[in-house]
């Protein structure tokens, strides 16, 4: 009874306020350094035209990186390639219209949903990003960042949705 309590106390003291910690130190490395982001094209979340990246998620990642004083190193590929690299630790983050129902759940740590929209089939899609498994400090930082902007993202998606509806309604 006394030993576990002692262990917990030591862990807490030793780690100070640094709970959670990244086993591989992702957040420390990214801060003021390089954030390696994998991207699959998915309209309207992440797009690429003429060498320029745009979309809701691209902007979010850019702002997140700016907050950490980090430069982004982009990698393009299919979801399968990107999640494989994420799992092996060669990427820090994967984006591109990933939802909570993605089959890649075991290869990446999904953030909590930061936007929920209705798909064309009328199903609820919960949009997430995927960090590397177990890098909980980095994941937590990203979660905080996204949740603080949940309202803002929702409003923006609504505006874009209306715009789109107008366009398709008046050809």
């Amino acid at each position: 009874m006394r030993l576990p309590a002692l262990l917990i106390a030591c862990c807490l003291l030793g780690a100070g306020c640094a709970i959670p910690t990244d086993p591989d130190g992702t957040l420390d490395r990214v801060r003021g350094g390089v954030m390696r982001v994998g991207m699959t094209e998915a309209d309207p979340w992440a797009q690429m035209s003429d060498g320029r990246r745009s979309g809701v998620e691209v902007e979010l990642v850019q702002r997140f990186a700016a907050g950490l004083d980090a430069r982004i190193e982009w990698t393009d590929g299919s979801e399968e390639e990107l999640f494989e690299e994420l799992d092996e630790g060669r990427l820090d983050l994967v984006i591109g219209g990933i939802t909570g129902r993605s089959p890649w759940k075991t290869k990446g740590a999904f953030t909590r949903p930061y936007a929920t929209i209705l798909s064309d089939q009328g199903k609820k899609e919960k949009h997430v990003m995927a960090a590397r498994l177990g890098e909980n400090d980095f994941l937590t930082e990203l979660d905080f960042f996204l949740q603080r902007r949940e309202g803002e993202i929702g409003e923006r998606l609504e505006r874009e949705g209306e715009l789109r509806a107008q366009q398709s309604g008046a050809p």
């Binding site: 917990i8 780690a15 640094a18 959670p20 910690t21 086993p23 909590r112 890098e135 937590t140």
Partner: protein
């Protein structure tokens, strides 16, 4: 209905305890319903938390078995079930134990696999009341809620189990009592993840699952033994029931009896007794037999169904099962 299997089962003081036990099991069900909901709400990718959650789910089985058995067991013997329905309790016990064993094995395998493939558990954060909060802290709070109250429940049930000679209740009490260890191990796993030790979680889950498997195995053995008509044991299945020897020496002590042997099996709460007696001068009267049977029944409320057979040679002397 034969007179040997009297309908009246427990003395009134035991009935009062049984009613308390029924109430306690209902409280247990209500409590675990909330506990399961609370842990499910914070269930992330922590293996240890999942193990603790499954153990909480399993905690439903013994109370349900107990409550069902409590309704069925007092039905009177009929043409189809001449020994009555007491064994409903033993069957409930077997199901509870099997569930324990299977799920323990499942968690054991899954945790070992996760450890072997070095899967890093991920726990993110949520915003609570405008404050960012790491989910791990919520998990620890949930574990405290599921780990502490069952210890009290278990202690109470242990007392009732001994009074009522009830093995389902005993298995349930043991499980509840072990709950703080499960919650503690899971908490260590979460703290481990927090400080960056990804393996701590799976190791904690492994430890929990080993304890679940051990509980399951022990109870399976006891439950199968009951259904195999194992010689009656005490409520904790650790030693032969003391009444067996008491009954034998009571019979052997009667002046008209030369030697006696008893076979006792359990029918849920109560004992079913077959006694063989060798009359001293080779014969006995019905009055003798009736008197001996009454003395056995008066020993303890658990002595419920007694068959007394005068014999020339005791069955055990030919290598048959005895006492």
């Amino acid at each position: 209905m034969n007179e040997a299997a009297r309908h009246f089962e427990m003395p009134s003081d035991k009935m009062a305890i049984h009613r308390k036990a029924v109430r306690l099991e209902k409280v247990t069900l209500a409590y675990f319903a909330t506990a399961v909901a609370v842990v499910f709400a914070v269930l992330g990718s922590s293996q240890a938390l999942k193990a603790a959650w499954i153990e909480d789910l399993l905690a439903f089985l013994p109370p349900i078995a107990f409550l069902i058995a409590a309704r069925v067991r007092t039905r009177e013997p009929d043409a189809r079930f001449p020994w009555g329905y007491h064994r409903a309790v033993s069957i409930g016990y077997l199901f509870a134990a099997l569930g324990l064993l299977l799920l323990g094995a499942y968690i054991l395998l899954e945790s070992a696999m996760k450890l072997a493939t070095a899967e890093h558990p991920s726990i993110g954060a949520i915003e609570l009341f405008g404050q960012p909060l790491w989910l791990g802290w919520l998990m620890l709070a949930a574990l405290a809620y599921t780990g502490l109250p069952p210890v009290w429940l278990g202690r109470r049930k242990l007392v009732y189990a001994a009074e009522l000679h009830d093995k389902v209740l005993y298995a349930d009490a043991e499980m509840n009592k072990a709950d703080w260890m499960t919650a503690g191990a899971a908490a260590l796993g979460i703290v481990g993840i927090g400080v960056g030790l990804w393996w701590a979680d799976s190791v904690a889950a492994l430890i929990i699952s080993v304890s679940i498997v051990r509980d399951g195995w022990k109870n399976m053995k006891a439950a199968t033994g009951d259904l195999m008509d194992e010689r009656a044991t005490r409520y904790d299945s650790n030693e032969p029931h003391p009444l067996i020897e008491e009954m034998r020496s009571l019979l052997a002590g009667l002046p008209w009896i030369d030697e006696a042997r008893v076979r006792v099996r359990e029918q849920g709460h109560v004992l079913q007794v077959e006694a063989f007696v060798k009359p001293a001068d080779g014969s006995c009267t019905l009055e003798h037999l009736d008197d001996a049977r009454q003395r056995l029944m008066d020993l303890d409320w658990k002595v419920h169904d007694v068959v007394l057979a005068p014999v020339k040679v005791l069955p055990g002397e030919h290598g048959e099962a005895h006492d």
